[in-house]
């Protein structure tokens, strides 16, 4: 109980953090345990890929928004071109984001991808093409999220800089104008 209290004091959104980690850990654990003990490839494949897909959705739509205030998606505009959109909370809200939350977010993202790569190497060594398929799917989902959020993050930083410059310029302008208004 005390541990839980300590945990929830440090993280601003403990439930979201929990779910963020839950599906990743479940997919990895399920894959490792079942491929060691159960010989049914179909079940392993379906459940692992399902958990990985759920994790992808949760990270992209829920924990990305709540833990780091970022979101990315793809759209097709009127001319039929594919456009990648990035969205972020504005500077103040971003600064208010809990540091621990975002630390957890990014590190679990990277660690999961690394874990899948290691598992992929194992199944390569054992020459199991089936399991390589599972690892391939899960890995591509993790990498998609990493790439999407990294781009979104860079975009957000650029926007914050631009906003800060503009805010500065506008305040200078408005104070100049009020100065001239007085004259």
């Amino acid at each position: 109980m005390k541990l839980l209290q300590a945990v929830s004091e440090n993280y601003a959104n403990p439930i979201t953090c929990f779910f963020h980690v839950l599906f990743k850990a479940a997919a990895l654990a399920f894959y490792i345990l079942f491929s060691l003990f159960v010989k049914s490839f179909v079940i392993i494949f379906v459940i692992t890929v399902l958990l990985a897909a759920l994790d992808f959705w949760v990270v992209k739509n829920v924990s990305g928004r709540i833990l780091v205030g970022l979101r990315w998606w793809n759209e097709i505009d009127d001319e039929g071109n594919s456009v990648w959109k990035f969205e972020c909370l504005d500077g103040e809200s971003l600064a208010r984001m809990n540091k621990k939350d975002s630390w957890l977010f990014w590190w679990t993202l990277y660690l999961t991808a690394a874990a899948w790569i290691v598992l992929g190497i194992f199944s390569l060594i054992r020459l199991e093409a089936d399991y390589l398929l599972v690892v391939g799917v899960c890995l591509s989902l993790s990498i998609a999220n990493i790439v999407g959020f990294t781009k979104c993050n860079k975009d957000a930083k650029k926007n914050i800089q631009a906003f800060a410059q503009n805010a500065l310029a506008s305040r200078v302008t408005s104070s100049l104008q009020s100065a001239f208004g007085v004259i």
């Binding site: 594919s82 909370l89 305040r171 408005s174």
Partner: protein, 275 residues
């Protein structure tokens, strides 16, 4: 106007500014806020939203409104201090664009589910009065295709009496790789199609074959299987035809469509041959 979503983080930082300063800063911020705001361009009827909806650096993108789900959202977070500027936003009739960054999770789920259903209806139930096939799968998603491919693999694997795992792995790999290769085929023929849109489309067109595989799994009669598979195969190909043919040069239509047909035929054979 609700800021009553439990987890809404106030997006507008300007509570300290007077209205006049606010409007001034908005005017000065406007040129760059068009880039700061990755406003989401809505589908054609509401094309005015992105331009007029950049009142503040707070992103206020709009999503295409789904029948019931998002109308309540679309009435929601408009930053309080910019109420005077929000009039042009509301003028399009759909209300201020919803803010997807702070929406409740349940709304995201509902939105995605509604998108899957609408994509399914658009693609699989052919509509002879469809205006522009290319626009139909604008809101592509890969959940539908994922479920259909896995379901087809499971059904085939269940029907097989031996080598279940291999059947599943082969079915999944053939369908996934086949979709990717078919998309590349269209792109190499000089067609205009988005990679993910095409994957999504080919996945959704598997739905009739899923139904056929289910029926064949339940009744193991060869003649019935052939009939069912032929019907569902024709349905799948008919569903895929308008999109694929719209994407390429008319003279290359057959070149683009024939591999699609081939892939569905091979899946159909797989369904018939499994016992």
């Amino acid at each position: 106007m609700s800021h009553n979503h439990g987890d809404t983080i106030p997006l507008h930082p300007s509570s300290a500014q007077s209205d006049m300063d606010e409007i001034e800063s908005l005017i000065h911020a406007a040129p760059s806020s068009a880039t700061v705001l990755p406003a989401r361009p809505p589908s054609p009827p509401r094309a005015s939203i992105p331009i007029s909806s950049s009142p503040a650096p707070a992103p206020v993108p709009s999503k295409p409104p789904l029948p019931a789900a998002s109308i309540p959202i679309s009435v929601s977070p408009v930053p309080p201090a910019s109420a005077s500027v929000s009039v042009p936003i509301g003028a399009d009739g759909f209300g201020p664009p919803p803010n997807t960054l702070t929406e409740p999770v349940w709304d995201t789920v509902k939105r995605d589910l509604a998108r899957i259903v609408s994509n399914l209806k658009l693609v699989v139930f052919p509509n002879p009065y469809r205006e522009d096939p290319g626009k139909a799968l604008r809101d592509w998603d890969l959940w539908g295709p994922f479920f259909f491919i896995v379901f087809l693999g499971l059904t085939l694997s269940w029907s097989a009496s031996v080598k279940k795992s291999e059947v599943f792995a082969v079915a999944f790999a053939v369908l996934a790789a086949g979709a990717i290769v078919l998309t590349l085929n269209v792109l190499l023929l000089g067609g205009h199609i988005i990679f993910f849109q095409s994957l999504s489309l080919l996945g959704y067109c598997l739905f009739p074959l899923d139904v056929g595989a289910l029926v064949c799994m339940l009744k193991n009669n060869v003649v019935l299987k052939i009939v069912v598979v032929t019907i569902t195969l024709a349905w799948s190909s008919w569903a895929a035809y308008p999109f694929m043919s719209a994407a390429v040069n008319p003279r290359r239509k057959a070149l683009a469509l024939y591999p699609v047909f081939l892939m569905y035929i091979s899946v159909g054979f797989l369904i018939i041959a499994i016992d």
